[in-house]
Symmetry: C2
Subunit: 234 residues, 2 copies
């Protein structure tokens, strides 16, 4: 709701956007993939919270899930402002995102934490990258739905402590993190192959394919640094 | 967090409350039962959202779950302020609340909606009643964690439309609502029998057992009115 007020004085006139210009198709696609990402992250995190060894930890992951659904609401509101039906706009991305989650169901609490840590962090890096290609209100929104560092710090601390307490879990969790990234990349390629508008948006802001490669390198480097921070090899 | 600021100028000095006076035991019990109620409502609603027939409705119930966990956080923060460990304080109420949910797992979307409608509404009425027995900051908090009417209205509208579209579902849902209330009462009696402090708090604010009977009558009357509002017999 705060966003509505903030952007009311923005460069775009919301009222005139009911008629979405063709160039907005990519923005709708982008907000929709983020929105379904949040909605499904809520659902899976809420389920993964049941793996927690105690109530305090269960509540912490539940609260992280709560933030995802709050962010979903903001993205869905913006889609509606742009004249899009959020459910319709999200539909093309359901198979890929559900596929990712179905292939990466955590078997225990630590796997759930690593999934939240890896997923939220890469998502945030990706949000920051694509924000650069967006106009005022949409850029602001995407930067505002970044994950809360307090929770990421909590998750990182939990993983680090588990690895320190039992170095043997490091190998297992490092393998798990690689599987998460691999599955995410394969589903991202699936989306890119099926939807023209979305890769076009990213390409538009970059000069050539090399720049897209550089983007992936930055995302991978960020991931590797975060893995190292919790005692895992990327 | 807003609560912290609002109550900083309240009648109680938080800093001095680390040492909980014995009379606070009932307040801790009350906030703890509400807190675990919110935490488990989050968990069950997040699961029930999967029963939704479409993404829009799934998101709506997911958002309701998100509000429950946000309210949980506020209650847990207050418990910590009072010097209680939220997890420890909630533990005595887990069996009753989990028992309620285990006995009332919705089999379909409409049962999930009726459960959210009945449960949230009775909870809100109960919150308003017990708020009268609390001091400043705790009373404010309990009144602030009432459910958002927009969602209750959404749920009521969905049930009403389903009953109008197919009057045969009215019988089934009315039976279901009675089971929800019966199960809730039986678990509430279990809590009352096991915990002395909590009933004492309510009794303290009432003159005699008749007043407690009157409280139950008011809760039941409110429930009956809400059932009628969606086309169901209480």
């Amino acid at each position: 709701m705060a966003h509505l007020t903030e952007t009311a004085a923005g460069t775009r006139e919301f009222g005139s956007l009911r008629d979405v210009p063709e160039s907005s198709a990519a923005v709708v696609d982008l907000l929709a993939v983020l929105a379904y990402g949040e909605l499904s992250a809520f659902d899976r995190m809420a389920e993964d919270a049941r793996l927690a060894p105690d109530l305090t930890r269960r509540a912490a992951l539940s609260e992280m899930a709560g933030l995802e659904i709050a962010n979903y609401r903001r993205l869905a509101d913006r889609l509606a402002e742009l004249g899009a039906d959020p459910a319709e706009a999200m539909r093309p991305f359901m198979a890929a995102i559900d596929g990712y989650h179905d292939q990466t169901e955590p078997r225990d609490w630590l796997e759930g934490l690593v999934k939240a840590y890896v997923g939220d962090s890469i998502a945030d890096d990706f949000y920051r990258e694509v924000a650069a290609f967006l106009d005022g209100p949409d850029r602001d929104l995407v930067l505002e739905v970044l994950h809360d560092h307090r929770y990421t710090d909590f998750v990182a601390g939990e993983i680090r402590a588990a690895v320190e307490a039992d170095p043997k879990v490091a190998n297992r969790l490092a393998l798990w993190a690689r599987r998460l990234v691999g599955e995410a990349l394969s589903q991202a390629q699936r989306v890119a192959a099926e939807r023209d508008a979305l890769p076009a948006l990213v390409m538009e802001g970059t000069e050539d394919l090399q720049a897209v490669g550089a983007l992936f390198k930055r995302l991978t480097a960020g991931h590797a640094a975060r893995m190292a921070a919790v005692g895992l090899n990327a």
